[in-house]
């Protein structure tokens, strides 16, 4: 599904990723952990194609296509989804309107009929209930005045509706209370399937208690320095990054 080879990327001329290798197959969930500033969000942005994140070397292959050659929206339409660490506020644009626009863009891309307002609302109702999102939130402007937890749940709702092939979740668990964490984890698990791959960026074992990963990677100074099974996350929880011979906060 996703194959990253010797990826080097810099921001504002500053090298952040320094030869990163990673392979995720369909049906797998991989966790990416690592100290603050190690380059986790940068990796997510490079996969999504954000401007200003310049790839200086290496390659990223998605479903045997050169992902780096695709535009941001084409990546999205072909199934790459990024749940943002900091979801963006868009004043005046209703959450439901935004979602409908996004879902219909994907449907149009796949040659499917676009949903009308009624069909769409019915669909949303089903999905949002599972995530504990009330109707009021759907009417509000996208992310404007949402609490941290509401923003993250809204990201999960978007993922549930867009049904991506490759989902990158950037610290979706940060800022969630215990109940919300469970709700979000259930949402992620509900989407697990043989056709889908997920890259879950997190700092905490508590999410991985609910979403048990197939692989865990440790990212430090722009490279994967350790990979292992779900046990690796437990090890980190006990001994921290220092236990791996790394500085506690490499770039801080």
């Amino acid at each position: 599904m996703l194959k990253i080879d010797n990826l080097h990327a810099s921001v504002d001329g500053k090298p952040i990723l320094n030869g990163l290798d990673l392979e995720v197959h369909a049906g797998e969930v991989h966790a990416v952990m690592g100290p603050n500033g190690s380059g986790k969000s940068t990796l997510a942005y490079v996969i999504a194609g954000r401007e200003g994140y310049e790839v200086t070397d290496g390659s990223v292959t998605y479903r045997s296509e050169d992902l780096l050659a695709m535009s941001v929206e084409d990546r999205a339409k072909s199934g790459v989804f990024l749940a943002f660490q900091y979801p963006v506020e868009i004043p005046g644009v209703g959450s439901a309107t935004f979602l409908k626009t996004a879902v219909n863009a994907a449907r149009k891309h796949r040659g499917e009929k676009e949903y009308d307002a009624m069909e769409f609302l019915r669909l949303v109702k089903e999905k949002r209930a599972a995530l504990g999102i009330d109707d009021g939130m759907m009417r509000r402007a996208l992310n404007v005045g949402f609490s941290g937890g509401e923003k993250k749940r809204n990201e999960m709702l978007q993922m549930a509706l867009l049904e991506p092939a490759l989902a990158v979740l950037d610290e979706t668990d940060s800022g969630l209370d215990i109940d919300a964490l469970k709700v979000v984890a259930d949402g992620i698990n509900a989407l697990r399937g043989p056709e889908r791959a997920m890259l879950v960026i997190t700092h905490y074992q508590r999410l991985l208690d609910h979403v048990v990963p197939d692989r865990v990677h440790v990212l430090a100074q722009g490279r994967i320095v350790r990979s292992g099974g779900s046990g690796l996350a437990h090890e980190l929880e006990r001994s921290g990054y220092a236990g791996l011979g790394l500085e506690p906060s490499a770039a801080a």
Binding site: R50, E73, V88
Partner: protein, 489 residues
């Protein structure tokens, strides 16, 4: 739209300009038309053609005399740049086009125009009407218009062209014409008073609530009123009317200069809601060939508790000079101005409002959303004046500008004059850009950059869009998107 598509679109417009000639859109001066130029005889000719009474001719001539004295008073204070207009070069009266001068079918109409109609989702028959195609079949909408008029007549509501009103209701016209915008008001209004050819007239009798939106759309075929339009709306005591002007579909006109006048009168407890969508041809990417739109719109809340609300979506024209205003005479009267002005390419807009508080406890609210893209320039110019007797007057002004790209400009010029210490005037202004973060977020959800801009801009304009009548609002949203094509990427 990519630069390439954009270029293609402009080429289509260019070639249309050439083809118009080929299809004889530029008519020969028939005996029925006044030769170019403007003098007393031109005005007598217009008045005679329309079979007007003596008082109206006299009024026109007075305006013309005044206009001649105004030679040096063509407004220069607006932030607008255009070459001097040769008023003697224009043609001030031409008879409505005969069918043989119109395109025979949509095949003869500018494909660019059709593409836009399609995007707006305008049904074929309406497309034909808008493009001025000659058809002899009776339109559904024409018969709709007839039943609609009958219904209004039953309620005593008068809704007709102003020429018709001059003939059928001369007392009303004579009483109110020029009562809000006097013939001597300003350079363009004075010119309009001298040469206006047609426009709409509405009278809503006491206590009557007009049950439907009155729209110029229903008489789109009735007259060729574009250039010097004159509209007069009177809402008698306790009445209500909502009036829609214009059309989201792009309108083309051979006349570059437009100088309309709109007068509204609201008596005690009456309310007028006036909504405009202005989408005249903005010119090509260099601004060539676009309409110059110099409009004087003013409403008077003559009675207590009267209310006048202006809502405008201005996306067209090369130059827009327009300040729909409210004179709040009656105690407790209310004035509102909701505006969206979008400029792209080389367009220039200098628009805003005047709220003149005369009566006690008068209230006004101004919400202006200016969006500038390309190399365009958008200025909000607004005056809030509190007269000495306007105790307890309130105004709230909110003025937001959104810039797309780095080569456009947005300016806010508020004038506040308060001569009553109990009045409260509040002004808020913001200038923002569409952030990289917002665009990336949308695009990551599979929304193309251009659609993302449209979505964000529509969100920015929401407060104003929701003031529009439903049937206008949906089209206006699409129009916002279309107006900004080619502004990104």
């Amino acid at each position: 739209m990519s630069a390439q598509q954009d270029a293609a679109a402009h080429q289509a417009v260019e070639s249309y300009a050439g083809e118009r000639y080929k299809y004889g859109f530029v008519t020969d001066v028939e005996a029925d038309s006044a030769p170019p130029g403007l003098d007393r005889d031109t005005i007598r000719f217009i008045s005679a053609k329309k079979g007007e009474p003596e008082w109206l001719l006299a009024w026109r001539l007075k305006a013309f005399e005044r206009w001649l004295e105004m030679e040096d008073e063509e407004p220069a204070w607006a932030k607008l740049h255009y070459p001097p207009i040769d008023y003697q070069d224009a043609c001030y009266y031409s008879a409505p086009k005969s069918d043989s001068d119109r395109p025979k079918s949509l095949d003869e109409v500018d494909p660019e125009l059709l593409r836009t109609y399609e995007k707006l989702g305008i049904p074929l028959q309406e497309q034909e009407m808008l493009a001025g195609v000659a058809v002899d079949a009776v339109f559904d909408s024409v018969s709709v218009a007839t039943t609609f008029k009958d219904k209004l007549a039953e309620m005593g509501i008068i809704f007709c062209s102003i020429s018709e009103a001059v003939k059928e209701h001369p007392d009303l016209v004579q009483r109110w014409l020029g009562s809000v915008v006097p013939y001597s008001d300003n350079f363009f209004a004075t010119l309009n008073s001298a040469v206006f050819t047609d426009g709409s007239f509405v009278y809503v009798p006491k206590g009557v609530r007009c049950p439907m939106e009155l729209s110029t759309y229903f008489r789109i075929n009735a007259a060729n009123t574009g250039q010097f339009e004159r509209t007069l709306i009177i809402a008698d005591e306790g009445s209500y009317v909502s009036y829609l002007e214009g059309c989201t579909a792009p309108m083309r006109d051979e006349n570059q200069l437009h100088a309309a006048v709109v007068e509204l009168v609201a008596l005690d407890d009456a309310e007028i809601k006036y909504s405009t969508v202005q989408n005249w041809y903005p010119g090509d990417a260099d601004g060539k060939g676009g309409i110059y739109n110099f409009v004087t719109k003013r409403g008077a809340c003559r009675g207590a508790n009267a209310k006048i609300s202006w809502t405008q979506v201005e996306t067209g024209s090369a130059i827009t000079w327009k300040y729909p205003s409210c004179i709040l005479q009656g105690d407790n009267s209310v004035g509102e101005f909701y505006s969206i002005a979008i400029t792209n390419n080389r367009q220039q807009a200098d628009t805003g409002t005047k709220m003149v508080h005369i009566g006690r406890n008068t209230r006004s609210r101004i919400v202006s959303k200016g969006i500038a893209a390309g190399r365009s320039d958008s200025t909000y110019r607004g005056l809030v004046r509190i007269q000495p007797k306007a105790a307890g007057a309130r105004n709230h002004t909110q003025c937001d500008s959104l810039l797309i790209g780095a080569t456009c400009g947005a300016h806010t010029v508020p004038y506040i004059e308060s001569r009553n210490p109990t009045a409260r005037v509040e002004h808020e202004a913001t200038t923002s850009k569409i952030s990289e973060d917002q665009l990336f977020y949308c695009r990551q959800r599979g929304i193309d950059e251009e659609d993302a801009v449209a979505l964000i801009v529509n969100g920015f304009c929401r407060e104003v869009l929701q003031e529009l009548p439903m049937e206008f609002a949906v089209e206006a949203q699409k129009l916002v998107a279309i107006s900004l094509e080619g502004s990104v990427g």
